[in-house]
C-alpha cells in the first residue's frame, strides 16, 4: 500500500469517526456548561468556558435523588433481561443449530415474522395480557416482555455462532457419557462465550434503551425506568431542559459505553463469527 493511500485512509476514517462521535461529544460539552452558556446563540463552545458539574448535581439530587432510583430500576430490569434472555436464546438456538425436528422451519420463520409487526401496535394487546397475568406494572412483567423483544435477534445470532462449533465435539461428549443437556452446558456454552456475551449485551441494551413499553406499563414515579423518568422530568414535546437532559443522558450512557469499550474486541469477534454467516 502506498504512503498516499495510508494517509488518505487515515483522513477518511478520522473524518468518519469525528462524525460518529460528534453528537455525543456535543452533549457531553453541553452537560458541563453553565446554564447561561447553554442558552446562547453567539458562541460555539466545543470545550466549555466554565466547566462545572452543577447540571449533574441538579440531576442527581432532584426530588430526593429519584434519578438514582430510576438508574437502579433500569439496571435491575436490564440485568435480569440480559441473563434470562441469553438463557432462553441459547437453549433455543442450540436446538435449532443441532437437531432437525418437526416444525423447525415454521418456528424459525415465526421468529423472523415477529420482526415485521410494528412493536408499538402490539402495545395494547400486550397490556391486556400482562394485566390478565397479573404482571402489569411489575418489573417481572417488563423483564419478560423485553426478553421476547431481544429473543429473535439472540436466537438468530447464537444459532449462527453454534453452527461454527464442530459437531464432532458434541459426538465426543456423547461418547464420553454426557447427555444432550450435558453437551449443551459443558461443551457448547463454554466454547461460545464470546457469542453469548454479545447476545447478553444486546439483550441488556434492549432493556436499557427501551422507551415505549416502560412508558405504557409502569406507573408511579418511583417505578420509572431511566428513559421514561428523564422524559418526564426534563422535557416533552413543548419544553425541554436541555442542560439537565444532557447531564442525564451522559450518566445513562456511561455504563453501556464502559461495557462496550472494555469488551468491544470480544463483542466484535462474537458478532463477526456468529451473526453473519459466510
Amino acid at each position: 500500500m502506498g504512503r498516499l493511500t495510508v494517509i488518505s485512509t487515515h483522513f477518511w476514517l478520522a473524518l468518519a469517526s469525528f462524525v460518529a462521535v460528534f453528537p455525543i461529544i456535543w452533549v457531553l460539552s453541553t452537560s458541563l456548561k453553565q446554564k447561561e452558556d447553554v442558552y446562547q446563540t453567539v458562541r460555539i463552545e466545543m470545550i466549555p468556558a466554565h466547566p462545572n458539574f452543577s447540571n449533574y448535581r441538579e440531576v442527581l439530587t432532584m426530588n430526593n435523588g429519584i434519578f438514582l432510583r430510576w438508574f437502579r430500576n433500569s439496571a435491575v430490569v436490564a440485568g435480569a433481561t440480559a441473563i434470562l434472555g441469553v438463557l432462553l436464546a441459547a437453549s433455543a438456538a442450540y436446538a435449532f443449530s443441532r437437531f432437525s425436528f418437526f416444525g423447525k422451519k415454521p418456528l424459525i420463520f415465526f421468529f423472523l415474522l415477529t420482526q415485521m409487526f410494528p412493536g408499538v401496535v402490539l402495545l395494547v394487546p400486550l397490556y391486556f395480557i400482562l394485566q390478565r397475568m397479573g404482571l402489569l406494572g411489575s418489573f417481572p412483567g417488563l423483564i419478560v416482555a423485553y426478553c421476547t423483544v431481544s429473543l429473535p435477534f439472540g436466537v438468530w445470532m447464537l444459532k449462527g455462532y453454534f453452527d461454527t462449533i464442530p459437531k464432532s465435539l458434541d459426538e465426543a461428549g456423547i461418547v464420553d457419557g454426557l447427555s444432550i443437556f450435558g453437551v449443551f452446558w459443558r461443551i457448547v456454552v463454554p466454547l461460545s462465550l464470546p457469542g453469548i456475551s454479545v447476545t447478553a449485551f444486546f439483550a441488556f441494551l434492549t432493556a436499557w434503551n427501551e422507551y415505549m413499553f416502560a412508558l405504557a406499563f409502569m406507573t408511579g414515579e418511583e417505578n420509572y425506568l431511566l428513559p421514561v423518568g428523564m422524559a418526564a422530568a426534563f422535557g416533552d414535546q413543548y419544553q425541554t431542559f436541555w442542560h439537565l437532559m444532557a447531564a442525564g443522558s451522559i450518566i445513562t450512557t456511561i455504563p453501556v459505553l464502559l461495557v462496550f469499550v472494555l469488551a468491544q474486541r470480544y463483542l466484535i469477534s462474537g458478532l463477526t463469527q456468529g451473526g453473519v454467516k459466510q
Partner: protein, 410 residues
C-alpha cells in the same frame, strides 16, 4: 428394537424442551398480541364504539349481605352514587323487572344500556334494598360515559364493539370522497417507502466504504473501529436527544453556525421537508455501524488468493472491489439489506423521539401509534399494524424468492 424407538421418542421430546422456554413467552407475549391485533382490525374497537356507558354499579360475587336481590358495589362518582345510592345495597328490580339472579341482572343492565344508547329510553328505574336501614328505594338513573383509559379491558362484556368485516381495510385502502383516511394512508406509505429506501441505501453505501477502509488494516484501525461503532452502543433515546439538540432551532449547533456565517436559520424540526432531512440524517448515522461491521466480517472471510488472482489478471483496485469483493459479499449483503429494510420500515423510535413526539413527519408505524393514542381508534391502529405486517411479509417473501435466498436464510 423397542428401546431404540423409545430413545428416539425421548430424544424428540427433549429437543422441544430446549425450545419451549423461549417459545412459550414468545407465543404468549408476541404471538398472541399479534393474532389479537389482526383480529381487532376486523372490528370497530374505538372509543366511540368502545361502550363505556355505565350506571356506576358493579356486580360483586360471593357476597352474602343480601337476603333478597343482587348485591352490588356502587362506583364512587358514578351515576348511581350521584343519585344517593349507598354502597353495599341489593338490587331488587330494574325497570320494574325482577331478575332471578346476578346473571339475569347483568343482562337487564346490558339491554337497558342498548336501549339508552339507541335513545329508546331516557332513564332507567332502579329499585334497591338497603340491608342496613331495611328500606327499599327506587331511583331514576341515566347512563353516563366513563372516561376512556388504557386500563379498560376490551374483553369485558360491557361494550357494544363487534366485528365489522373488511370495513376498516376498505376505509383505509379505497379512496372515497367523504373520507381522508385513504389519502392519508397512501401519503404516509409513500413517505415510509422513501424513508426506507433512502436509509438502507445510505447505510449500505457508507457501511461498505467504511468497511473497505477498515479492511486496509492500517495502524490505528482498531481505534477507528471503536469510534465508528459508538452510535450503535449509545442508547437510542440518547442519540435521538443529541440530534434533537443539534437541530434545535434556536440554540442548536447547526443553526448557531449557520447564523454565524450569515445564513438564516433552518426550520429543522418544524418544516416538513427539513424535518424529513433531519430524521433521515439521524437514522443514517445510527444505522451505519451495523452494516459496516457485518460487511467488514464478510470481507475478512474472503480468501486472499482471489485478490491475487485478480491482480495477475490485471485488475485495478476498483475492478478488484467490483469483481471480487462485491460478489463475494452477496450473501451477507442480501441478509443485512433485508433486515435493515424491515427495521427501518418500522423505525418508530427515531421518528418519534427526534421530533420529541411531534407529528411533522410520520411513517406508518408512528401514524398507527397516533391513531391509537390520540384518536383512540384502536381498530384503525390494528388495521395499520396488520397492513404493515402484510406489506413486509410480501416484500420479504418476494425478496427471498427472487434472489433464491430462502434456503440460505435457514
Amino acid at each position: 428394537m423397542a428401546t431404540g424407538m423409545l430413545r428416539k421418542l425421548f430424544r424428540g421430546t427433549v429437543i422441544y424442551l430446549f425450545i419451549l422456554p423461549a417459545l412459550v413467552p414468545m407465543l404468549a407475549l408476541v404471538g398472541l398480541p399479534l393474532l389479537q391485533t389482526i383480529f381487532f382490525s376486523f372490528t370497530n374497537l374505538k372509543e366511540k364504539n368502545f361502550d363505556l356507558w355505565t350506571l356506576g354499579v358493579e356486580l360483586v360475587s360471593g357476597s352474602t349481605q343480601c337476603s333478597e336481590g343482587t348485591p352490588v358495589r356502587v362506583v364512587p362518582g358514578g351515576p348511581a352514587a350521584k343519585r344517593g345510592v349507598p354502597d353495599g345495597v341489593c338490587i331488587l328490580a330494574l325497570n320494574n323487572e325482577t331478575p332471578r339472579n346476578a346473571r339475569a341482572l347483568e343482562r337487564f343492565i346490558e339491554k337497558a344500556r342498548r336501549d339508552f344508547i339507541n335513545k329508546k329510553v331516557e332513564a332507567v328505574s332502579l329499585s334497591y334494598f338497603d340491608p342496613r336501614s331495611g328500606t327499599t328505594t327506587t331511583v331514576n338513573l341515566q347512563f353516563e360515559r366513563a372516561p376512556f383509559d388504557w386500563t379498560i379491558n376490551p374483553n369485558r362484556d360491557n361494550s357494544t364493539w363487534g366485528l365489522v368485516g373488511l370495513a376498516n381495510y376498505k376505509r383505509v385502502l379505497i379512496p372515497s370522497r367523504d373520507s381522508e383516511d385513504a389519502r392519508t394512508f397512501y401519503k404516509v406509505l409513500g413517505v415510509t417507502i422513501l424513508w426506507t429506501i433512502l436509509n438502507v441505501t445510505f447505510h449500505y453505501i457508507f457501511g461498505f466504504i467504511l468497511a473497505l477502509l477498515l479492511n486496509r488494516n492500517i495502524p490505528g484501525t482498531r481505534f477507528y473501529r471503536v469510534l465508528l461503532m459508538l452510535p450503535w452502543a449509545v442508547p437510542v433515546y440518547v442519540s435521538a436527544f443529541s440530534w434533537r439538540w443539534l437541530f434545535n432551532s434556536q440554540y442548536g449547533f447547526f443553526n448557531v453556525i449557520l447564523q454565524k456565517i450569515g445564513h438564516s436559520p433552518i426550520p429543522w424540526l418544524s418544516d416538513s421537508v427539513w424535518t424529513f432531512i433531519a430524521v433521515t440524517i439521524t437514522n443514517v448515522w445510527l444505522g451505519i455501524p451495523f452494516m459496516m461491521i457485518s460487511l467488514l466480517a464478510g470481507m475478512q472471510a474472503i480468501p486472499k488468493d482471489l485478490y491475487e488472482a485478480a491482480e495477475i489478471d490485471g485488475c485495478s483496485r476498483l475492478q478488484k472491489i467490483w469483481y471480487v469483493t462485491f460478489p463475494m459479499l452477496r450473501p451477507v449483503s442480501l441478509t443485512i439489506i433485508l433486515l435493515g429494510a424491515i427495521w427501518t420500515f418500522n423505525m418508530f423510535n427515531v421518528i418519534w423521539l427526534v421530533q420529541g413526539g411531534g407529528t411533522t413527519v410520520e411513517i406508518l408505524a408512528t401514524y398507527a401509534f397516533r391513531l391509537f393514542r390520540d384518536y383512540h381508534d384502536y381498530a384503525g391502529a390494528a388495521t395499520y399494524g396488520t397492513l404493515i405486517f402484510v406489506l413486509l411479509l410480501v416484500f420479504s417473501l418476494l425478496y427471498l424468492k427472487l434472489l433464491h435466498r430462502d434456503e440460505e436464510l435457514y
